[in-house]
């Protein structure tokens, strides 16, 4: 009997499996501790103290909440940029989600050339280097009718790319003549002028929704058809619940994507690396991080009410 116990080397199978599992994930755990936990701790340290850089090194002196007070009351732009970015995000995210769901449903139908269409719709996600995005946005704005402050030089040189004389703004002005309520009109105008942003930011989301749509079992639709459900009912009773778990995923992705491209992070970056002001930069980044996490939390809670989990 003792021989058998010795052969087990003191570990049960499940313990051995646990050790192997930990070995598999060890790179991530080490990386997380070394680069994330430590970094977050240092960001906290920077944010609550005054940093002076000398050569390659730096010294910190604890000053409490001073940096945060400065961010909200002292800094000329930060509060404005922060609210602007957050508002943009809150407006953009639902638009992008609905747009990508709609497009995914359209692309999920069978028609000729849909592989090409899918490839094109995903293209913007590939072309997201800042320089490319800027150039494309510029040209696109001119195509649609120049609501962006494009330098006249470039306008002239690329008016070939379709610069129409009656731009989108003209039609928006026409809308003003219909007696729509001011706020409704503003939202429509906003949505229309954001259509570029929405289209170019939906690539990944469309693919994810498409994948979800493909994974719905056709027998569900068959049953609905036999029972005499209309297309409208089929959408709300089958399609929507089945893709709803992906709403949260897509929402998180969209919020983060629009946050990463927002002006507030540009400001954070400039403060940290342009002005070499570590403390204020760290405070900015903490504030923006916390506000985005807040938005994510509220939005995920709200969306998760809509989600149907299949188990």
């Amino acid at each position: 009997m003792t021989g058998v116990v010795k052969k087990r080397r003191g570990m049960t199978l499940s313990q051995r499996r646990a050790v192997t599992g930990l070995l598999f994930i060890s790179p991530f755990v080490l990386g997380f501790l070394l680069f994330y936990v430590r970094s977050l701790w240092m960001v906290g340290q920077f944010a609550f103290s005054e940093t002076t850089t000398e050569g390659l090194g730096y010294t910190t002196r604890f000053i409490g909440l001073e940096n945060f007070r400065y961010a909200f009351t002292g800094h000329p732009r930060f509060t404005q940029i922060l609210t602007e970015s957050l508002i943009n995000m809150v407006v953009d995210v639902p638009l992008i989600i609905f747009f990508s769901l709609f497009i995914a449903i359209v692309l999920n139908q069978k028609f000729r050339g849909r592989t090409v269409a899918r490839a094109i719709f995903f293209l913007p996600a590939l072309l997201n280097a800042p320089a490319i995005v800027q150039a494309l946005d510029l040209v696109r704005a001119m195509m649609i009718g120049g609501s962006s402050p494009a330098p006249s030089a470039v306008v002239d040189s690329v008016s070939g790319a379709g610069g129409g004389s009656a731009g989108i703004l003209y039609y928006i002005d026409l809308l003003g003549d219909i007696a729509l309520p001011e706020t409704v009109l503003e939202y429509i105008v906003g949505a229309v002028s954001r259509i570029n942003t929405v289209i170019t930011m939906s690539g990944v989301q469309i693919i994810i929704f498409l994948a979800a749509l493909q994974s719905i079992s056709p027998s569900l639709y068959e049953v609905a058809k036999i029972e005499g459900a209309t297309t409208y009912e089929t959408f709300w009773k089958i399609t929507f619940p089945m893709v709803s778990p992906l709403l949260v995923t897509n929402m998180v992705y969209t919020v983060l994507d629009s946050f990463v491209n927002s002006r507030v992070l540009q400001e954070v970056y400039d403060t940290m690396f342009g002005e070499q002001n570590y403390s204020v930069g760290a405070a900015f980044s903490l504030i923006s991080m916390i506000s985005v996490c807040g938005i994510l939390g509220i939005a995920s809670y709200a969306v998760s009410k809509l989600v149907y989990y299949d188990n």
Binding site: A18, T20, G21, L22, L23, F24, I25, P27, F28, G31, F32, L34, Y36, R38, S39, L40, M42, G57, I103, V106, L107, F111, T115, A117, R118, A119, F121, L123, A125, L126, L127, N128, A129, A131, I132, A135, V139, M143, A153, V154, D156, S157, V158, G160, A161, I199, I207, I208, L210, A211, A212, L256, L265, Y269, M272, F273, A282, S285, M289, V292
Partner: protein
């Protein structure tokens, strides 16, 4: 000769024609819907492709074309001069070669590391598993900006536990401007969007049937051998997905390249960002009309390799996303 109105009335009233009528109505509805769909898809494709096509055509404009108001899209005297200058300004072939080596090695490491971590989370039970997986989610959710400053400071004075300065006896080495930080981060599974890749692999491995592993185990394969010879060959969809994402995002990355001051010899995207200044500074091309033409040529040269890779992998990529279990 009865009027058309009467004939339609008769047709509607005729019960024997009921099926026919419905068929026509359904066909009409389908036709209208597909017209609508066509318009929508063509319109959106135009918004996406229009600027790219515009840029591509404009990059062939000669100086006269750029100033001639009569020229629309198709240049009268096309020139390759933009491209020939851009090839020298950006040292295109050299940088492209460097970069392909750099980003493909990073992507390979991403695939190896993230698939291992994903497999570990998917198939093994160990203490604190839930908390550790929450850390993966945290890495996905926290933008890199929030931890970049400490990383910058760390790599500027790279001295883990004071070991390096003990060996060299002097100041700790400055790792900025080298590729070392990116490789470090990627090897430890916290590189550019590694969290997302870990998540993708985890979801996929969780969806694979346990039986294939058990069979390998019964046949006497070790855990690592099972992972390498049984799981990885089965994981082609997520591997393709992660490969494309990783190549593309790394290729486009400017943020990390700027923070870690990676030289333009390794980052085409960074070169493109400063192209306007380079042109006016070193080549005396100050006229914005003309210099934007050069920038367009640069953009086309930058996106071309990616488009080519995408065209080759596109079909498998979209299938890959669908089957890689992002959807759960």
């Amino acid at each position: 000769m009865e009027s058309l109105k009467q004939r339609i009335k008769k047709f509607n009233a005729d019960t024997r024609m009921g099926n026919e009528r419905q068929r026509i109505i359904r066909w009409l509805m389908g036709f209208v819907l597909s017209l609508f769909r066509l318009a929508l898809i063509v319109g959106i494709s135009y918004v996406i492709l229009g600027p790219i096509i515009g840029i591509a055509f404009n990059s062939f404009f000669s100086n006269e074309d750029a100033y001639s108001p009569a020229i629309y899209l198709i240049p009268q005297s096309p020139t390759l001069e933009r491209y020939s200058l851009m090839l020298t300004v950006t040292q295109y072939w050299k940088v492209l070669r460097n970069m392909l080596f750099y980003i493909s090695s990073l992507s390979l490491i991403q695939i190896v590391v993230c698939s291992m971590v994903g497999y570990g989370f998917a198939r093994f039970q160990f203490p604190l598993k839930k908390i550790l997986f929450a850390c993966v989610i945290l890495v996905i959710v926290l933008p890199a900006h929030s931890v970049i400053l400490p990383l910058y400071v760390t790599f500027r004075n790279f001295d883990p536990l004071g070991i390096l300065s003990l060996i060299t006896g002097g100041n700790p080495p400055n790792m900025l401007t080298t590729l070392f930080p990116m490789y470090m981060l990627t090897i430890f599974g916290v590189g550019l969007r590694s969290g997302l890749y870990i998540y993708i692999f985890n979801q996929f491995f969780r969806g694979l049937p346990k039986e294939i592993e058990e069979a390998a185990f019964v046949d006497g394969a070790g855990t690592f051998y099972t992972y390498l010879r049984v799981m990885v060959p089965n994981a082609m969809p997520p591997i393709i997905t992660v490969l494309i994402f990783s190549l593309v995002w790394q290729y486009n990355d400017v943020f990390y390249a700027n923070v870690f001051q990676i030289s333009g010899d390794w980052a085409l995207s960074k070169k493109l960002n400063t192209l306007g200044n380079t042109l006016s500074g070193s080549y005396r091309i100050i006229d914005p009309n003309i210099s934007s033409l050069y920038v367009y040529a640069g953009i086309i040269m930058m996106i071309l390799p990616m488009i080519i890779i995408y065209i080759f992998l596109q079909r498998r990529f979209i299938e890959g996303v669908e089957r890689s279990g992002i959807v759960g």
